[in-house]
Amino acid sequence: HSTSEIIILKAAEFKKTKIDYTGTEPSSPCNKCLNVSWDSTPPCTCTINFTLEHAFESNVFMYYGLSNFYQNHRRYVKSRDDSQLNGDNSSLLNPSKECEPYRTNEDKPIAPCGAIANSMFNDTLELYRIDNDTRTPITLIKKGIAWWTDKNVKFRNPTGDGNNLTALFQGTTKPVNWPKPVYMLDSEPDNNGFINEDFIVWMRTAALPTFRKLYRLIERKNNFQPTLQAGKYSLDIAYNYPVHSFDGRKRMILSTISWMGGKNPFLGIAYITVGSICFFLGVVLLFIHHKYGNRNTSADIPN
């Protein structure tokens, strides 16, 4: 039982805030962006204000969540070329057939190819703390959100002369839905191209149609101040990612975590339930065994 209690107690310490910014309700500020398309320029932006009741003491993790989005669909899952993503030059120019129909565009190979890459989440979220009408931007860290193995083993930029990504991706074209090519995802060279962490996170497909993915980290600055104080905040959204057509939902989540991950009430409840059932069962069986169990002696054996 102790484990489950710990899980419950720990779960109680978690702080979590969820903001749905899909904009399906007419009252929502993002309602205007509901029917946005991929190539709308300039991007539709909207702002959602919210209040944190409690302060977030430790490091805060910022997620985006999607619902009704089938990242686990068979055709979707297989629509990628890991060889290309691993920096293989021949696959770069000749992507796997699995990437169809996002394999080539106008006779140029797409890098990164496939439906997963093509549908990469591209809303931009910014967080501001509103303190007496002044908007203080909160520093969002975009590195360190992907698995180490993904960033260092699985995903690698193509190799060649020099480090100029533009040159290395020469001869390829951007995914159809993307506004800009893969080598322009970020300004920092160790977060650009295939090793862009937002991209890596997206490429690690979700198991279930409702999922969230880590977007940014908010680190606790010093020991005297909580990471996020209680109070008013606003979320600025560059709304680029259409989900309304398939009844999708988009969320922004802020959460803290502990040694065993984020808030997870299911596990705790399950442990308590199963534990009590086992205990009860044990008592019943012991009783039955005591009452009936001694019946079978050798005298019962017919011959």
Partner: protein
């Protein structure tokens, strides 16, 4: 090696020919017309070649090196399962529907095909070997007037071949001539029909004279005869030679498989060769036997297949709806495949995709695993030291490896008698002479000794002619002989004179008796050892060495044995000139024919007879009568006259015989023990306790069979009644069966009252007869059986027979044996086992579900046709109660677990389908799917299937009731199947939804999402492997080191392979094949994941444990109780009790128990079967000094009745 050399010598074509020779026979498939008659001309190969008859080469093998691969693959793909997987493989190659990589199917498929192919290849290799061995046997063929050694396979139709004594006959031959007079020759047909007695064959007179090779080389007769067929006892043909026609019958034929005996040589003309021989025509292709579990398994696999299609349809409909509702809109991120324009079509494709990923519910490895387990069980049988017969050096052998679990379900055993229950050894065991009974085994104090504590046997060393193998335990009989008791002397004189045994004296004093039946042999041998040595006979004389003195009796007549008379007599004239009739026969017949003076003696002897019969001995009564010279003359004249009148000759003879065998003086009685095989009564008792019904089917006589029934405790005196059906007509048989049933019902009516009885009678015959009270037995004769097996009576017969505790069918033909088995199989739906040793049991062995052959005997036909063979009937209890029971238990546990684990594994995909848009996305990594069945979970369950046991072997013998679950098919049936399926589905639900619940909202400890597809896959796979491993641990009842090794090894292998597959190295080599890189270490480092796995395992396992615990407490199986008792006993360290010995009471049963044929008396009197050498023997004088008898006589004061000096004996010898 020498073949290779020949290859080098003779160039390419020669080499090719040699290779073909090695590979097998060159098949002659020339004539497509069905042969209507066969023409064979002797010594004319060119002429005979026109007809393209089959050569003498036999081929039982299926493949050769070239044809092996295609033929074997073709055969394997005729198996539905294999074709199914091939079909799946093809499906997987279609990119639109391929939901799994092709290797997930091809790896197991290739594995399965390879294992089967290797097994087939080994089997065929051994067939080649045995073919080669037979084909390369040597025989002497007359070619161009010279005898040449040739291999059997080179013998052609029309060749004349020479056979020597004790050689196998190479082909079906027409006997031309032999070393014996009149062209006679003796053969043993044990391989053909199982009869061990010798048979006589005779050449037709014209060819019998062709004694030497030059004459035979000129022989150019032509035989026109029937085409090849499988009738062993029929042959029809004609020999055309020198413008004459000679009819041919079976009497002139020597069939392949026979052995030449007591004939120095003979010549034969090959009529049928190789595959055309009657032997080969009879050994039809062995029917492939399947066990009931096999059939059930096939049904279940079909059901599962139906279930698979249902799931496919559900998911396909789901897919169509999803694509119609959601997928259409989701096209902005995931457009439909090219060529897919409607949701409906997408659903159609998804159906096939789901068939592919859900195919693991019909696991291909099932069949292979089952085969492997059975093979393991077969080796256990082969290696069982307790089924090894040291005396004959024969281990038990599982010749078929596919029937083991059926051994645990046997309900009916059909047993042959001779050679199976009995040793076919007759032992002179007891006798009653002049009211004094001899033969009881006595200990030092003169009390009757118990079995097993025998004192020294009687010492026969005084008699140089004694048979050293003969043993007798009562010294008083020999005392009586030595003391010169006249009755005893006369008793043994009768035994040495009244018989049809032939003697052979290879060298001085080395006598060999050739008895037609083992009974007679035993009696004559007994007389021999007690000093009345039958030495030789001519058609007119019998020479007996009586206590060292050779006396020749003139043989006046043999009143031969037949079934009606049940006795035989000889009339001899002693050297003194007295004529005496000696008679031996069944007590029922003989006691009526005694002189009234014998009354007192008769009553004493009758007591003795009762006592003997009560011990299951075969009794005979001996009597003599002195005949007046004048009476004999008159009688023999009448006999002669009767013999020459052709019409009603038999009747006349019978009347005359009857007349002379009258007013006889009783000498005594003999008791012969038909020696049972070791442990037969005990085995039958235990098997009966195990609720197995034993039927004895024997070619023997009713009396013999019933006698054996008593001695092996199948029949007991406690039985309410033994019904004997001997009717000759349909009506009689029906009446007898009806009466038997009525009697049984009467008895049961008194138990259950009339009302319910009447009701039952009208409703069903069976139910009444099943409720019979009391023990009954049924004995039915062959000719009655023929009627009883007719279509309109067979059910009646079967119901009557099944209501009886014991059934004995006597005088049955091999075909009837098979029919009886077939009958039970057909109506009783029970597993049958047939056990026998001779070729006459082959049909029964092949018909029954399980055929057992007794090995280590002369004939090997039964063994060759059998599925299991061992050398002692008593091993049957071990085979069934230990091996069979375990095999059944193991197979059932194996199947339950196997279906469980595959459902648990596969159904997860089904649940996942609802969350992935029914897109046929797999839950697991494709490598996991490939390896799950063949690596991660195969070995532990195999180890359980091979080694598991619920109770130790001694207990299954001790509590035969433990056998019952198998007969009732309790451990694996449709109900059990559904339970395992339900458990599997339950597990799969938890396996999916617990991780689903956890992952829906969880993050890792570094903040990243936990719910990515790959982590989910690893979590589910890991918990699945752990749960099924725990489950196998729970199912394993008997832990060996191998079980531990396999279970822990499988878990270790899982994690090793998991980490290897997810390692950087492999990914760097094949990035597209090993996409899960880094996943294992990332996921399995998460405490949440482990908590999930633990939770899943507990929730899956706890209900099972609780259920089993409850069952053990509330409704324990017998095996549970036995195991529990075992535990208690181990603590108390008490000794287990012994098996009780059934006591027995005597009752009057007797029979003339010769397995005897009529007609030998005539043969002897005609002298046809006498060899010249043996005729000469009549003038053979015994050794001049028989010192032992002199010393004996000196001791006893010369009171012996047989006067005269040893030298005088020779003078008295009658010359022919």
């Amino acid at each position: 090696m020498d073949r290779k050399l020949r290859c080098q010598d003779s160039g390419f074509w020669g080499c090719l020919a040699a290779v073909t020779e090695v590979l097998g026979c060159i098949e002659v498939t020339g004539c497509c017309v069905i042969e209507e008659e066969r023409r064979v001309r002797a010594n004319a190969r060119e002429y005979n070649e026109k007809f393209q008859y089959a050569s003498n080469c036999i081929k039982t093998s299926k493949y050769n090196i070239v044809t092996f691969l295609p033929v074997n693959l073709f055969e394997q793909f005729q198996e539905v399962a294999n074709t199914y997987f091939l079909f799946l493989l093809i499906l997987q190659l279609i990119p639109q529907i391929s939901s799994l990589s092709w290797f997930t199917t091809i790896v197991p498929l290739v594995l399965v095909l390879t294992i089967t192919a290797v097994k087939d290849a080994t089997d065929d290799y051994f067939r080649h070997k045995s073919d080669n061995q037979v084909n390369n046997r040597q025989s002497q063929v007359l070619i161009g007037g010279v005898l040449r050694q040739e291999q059997w396979m080179n013998v052609r139709v029309g060749d004349i071949i020479k056979l020597e004594n004790n050689q196998f006959v190479a082909a079906d031959l027409l006997l031309l001539s032999s070393s014996e007079p009149h062209g006679l020759c003796y053969i043993e047909t044990a391989e053909l029909d199982g009869e061990t007695n010798m048979k006589v064959r005779q050449a037709i007179p014209v060819t019998a004279e062709l004694g030497d090779t030059s004459q035979l080389a000129c022989f150019d007769g032509e035989v026109i005869c029937e085409p090849p067929n499988n009738k062993l006892d029929k042959f029809g043909g004609t020999l055309y030679w020198k413008d004459n026609k000679y009819p041919l019958s079976n009497q002139n034929m020597l069939l392949r498989g026979c052995v030449l005996r007591n004939t120095e040589w003979c010549f034969g003309l090959v009529i049928f060769a190789g595959p055309d021989t009657k032997l080969m025509q009879n050994s039809g292709r062995t029917k492939f036997k399947r066990t009931s579990i096999d059939r059930l398994m096939n049904t279940l696999v079909l059901w599962i297949f139906g279930f698979l299609v249902c799931m496919g349809v559900i998911l396909a409909i789901g897919n169509a709806i999803w694509e119609h509702e959601v997928g259409v809109c989701f096209q902005i991120y995931l457009p439909w495949d090219e060529g897919v324009h409607s949701a409906f079509f997408s659903g159609f494709l998804s159906f096939w995709s789901y068939i592919i990923i859900l195919n693991t519910v019909v696991p291909i490895s099932l069949y292979v695993s089952v085969e492997v387990i059975r093979l393991g069980h077969s080796y256990f049988i082969n290696w069982d030291k307790k089924m090894y017969c040291a005396k004959r050096r024969t281990p038990a052998e599982a010749r078929t490896t596919t029937l083991n679990e059926e051994l645990g379900q046997v309900e009916y055993i059909f047993s042959d008698k001779t050679g199976t229950l009995t040793q076919n050894i007759m032992v002179f065991s007891k006798c009653s002479v002049n009211g004094h009974s001899y033969g009881d085994v006595q200990d030092m104090l003169g009390h009757k000794a118990e079995l097993g504590e025998r004192p020294e046997p009687v010492d026969f060393s005084f008699n140089p002619l004694a048979d050293p193998r003969f043993q007798f335990w009562d010294p008083s009989l020999l005392e009586a002989v030595k003391l010169g008791d006249l009755h005893v002397h006369e008793f043994f004189r009768l035994l040495s004179l009244c018989h049809t045994v032939m003697s052979e004296e290879k060298s001085e004093g080395e006598l060999l008796y050739k008895a037609q039946s083992p009974d007679e042999g035993a009696l004559v041998t007994a007389a021999r050892n007690f000093g009345f040595v039958f030495r030789s006979r001519t058609p007119k004389t019998i020479t007996v060495q009586e206590l060292g003195q050779a006396i020749t009796y003139q043989l006046l007549a043999i009143l031969d044995f037949n079934n009606i008379r049940k006795r035989m007599s000889v009339i001899v004239r002693s050297p003194e000139g007295k004529i005496r009739l000696y008679c031996k026969g069944a007590d029922t017949i003989l006691l009526e024919r005694l002189h009234p003076l014998n009354q007192e003696l008769t009553s004493i002897t009758t007591d003795h007879l009762n006592e003997y019969a009560g011990e299951g001995l075969r009794t005979l009564v001996l009597a003599y009568r002195d005949l007046e010279e004048s009476y004999y003359k008159d009688w023999s004249e009448r006999l002669h006259r009767a013999g020459s009148v052709p019409e009603a000759r038999e009747d006349h003879l019978a009347r005359l015989y009857d007349e002379v065998e009258h007013d006889m003086m009783l000498l005594g009685a003999t008791a012969i023990e038909d020696k049972l095989q070791q442990g037969v009564p005990e085995t039958i008792a235990i098997l009966t306790l195990a609720n197995i019904k034993i039927w004895v089917l024997t070619g023997d006589k009713q009396e013999t069979a019933v006698n054996i029934g008593y001695s092996c405790k199948m029949l007991t005196d406690d039985m309410t009644e033994v019904f004997v059906v001997t009717g000759h007509t349909v009506l009689e048989v029906r009446e007898e069966l009806r009466k038997a049933r009525e009697k049984m019902m009467d008895a049961s009516r008194s138990v259950c009252n009339g009302f319910s009885y009447q009701e039952k009678l009208s409703s069903n015959l069976t139910s009444v007869l099943e409720a019979i009270a009391g023990e009954y037995a049924l004995v039915i004769n062959g000719h009655s059986l023929a009627h009883a097996l007719e279509a309109d009576m067979e059910v009646e017969f079967l119901e009557t027979a099944c209501a009886c505790k014991a059934v004995i069918c006597c005088r049955v033909t091999p075909l009837q044996k098979a029919q009886v088995v077939e009958l039970v199989k057909k109506y009783k739906k029970a597993v049958t086992l047939a056990i026998g040793d001779g070729a006459n049991d082959v049909s029964m062995i092949k018909t029954a579900h399980i055929g057992v052959g007794i090995s280590g005997q002369e004939g090997i036909q039964a063994v060759l046709a059998s599925d299991y063979s061992f050398s002692q009937f008593k091993f049957l209890q071990r085979l069934l109660l230990v091996h069979g029971r375990w095999s059944y238990l193991r197979m059932c546990k194996f199947l339950c677990y196997f279906f469980y684990k595959n459902f648990a594994f596969t159904m997860v995909h089904f649940w996942f389908g609802f969350f992935c848009g029914f897109s046929a996305q797999t839950v697991y990594d494709q490598y996991f799917i490939t390896l799950y069945n063949i690596v991660y979970t195969s070995l532990p369950v195999l180890a359980m299937g091979v080694f598991d046991q619920d109770v130790p072997e001694q207990r299954s013998m001790e509590y035969p009731k433990l056998y019952e679950p198998g007969q009732l098919n309790l451990l694996f049936n449709k109900r059990e199947f559904f339970i395992c399926i339900a458990q599997g589905i339950y597990t799969s639900i938890l396996m999916f939804f617990i991780p689903y619940g956890v992952f829906a909202d969880a993050t890792r400890d570094d903040g990243a999402q936990l719910a990515d597809y790959q982590s989910f896959a690893v979590t589910v796979a890991t918990s699945l492997v752990i749960v099924v491993s725990v489950q196998i641990g729970l199912d394993t009842g008997f832990w060996t080191a191998i079980n531990h090794f396999f279970i822990w090894g499988s878990l270790a292998a899982y994690f090793t392979i998991l980490f290897t597959m997810h390692s950087d190295g492999l990914f760097r080599m094949f990035p597209n094949q090993f996409r899960f890189v880094g996943n294992a270490q990332n996921t399995l480092a998460q405490p949440t994941v482990w908590l999930t796995i633990a939770l899943t395992a507990v929730v899956c396992i706890v209900p099972v444990v609780a259920f089993r615990f409850l069952k053990l407490d509330l409704k324990p199986e017998l095996s549970d109780t036995v195991r529990y008792t075992q535990l208690v006993r181990k603590k108390q360290k008490t000794q287990h009790r012994c098996m009780r010995h059934a006591g027995r009471a005597g009752s009057r049963r007797s029979g003339y128990a010769f397995s005897h044929q009529e007609g030998f008396g005539e043969l002897i009197m005609s002298g046809k079967n006498m060899r010249l050498s043996s005729l000469a023997l009549s003038s053979f004088a015994p050794r001049p000094s028989a010192s032992w008898i002199d010393t004996l006589r000196k001791k006893k004061g010369g009171e012996g009745s047989s006067a005269g000096s040893p030298s005088g004996a020779a003078d008295k010898t009658l010359r022919v």
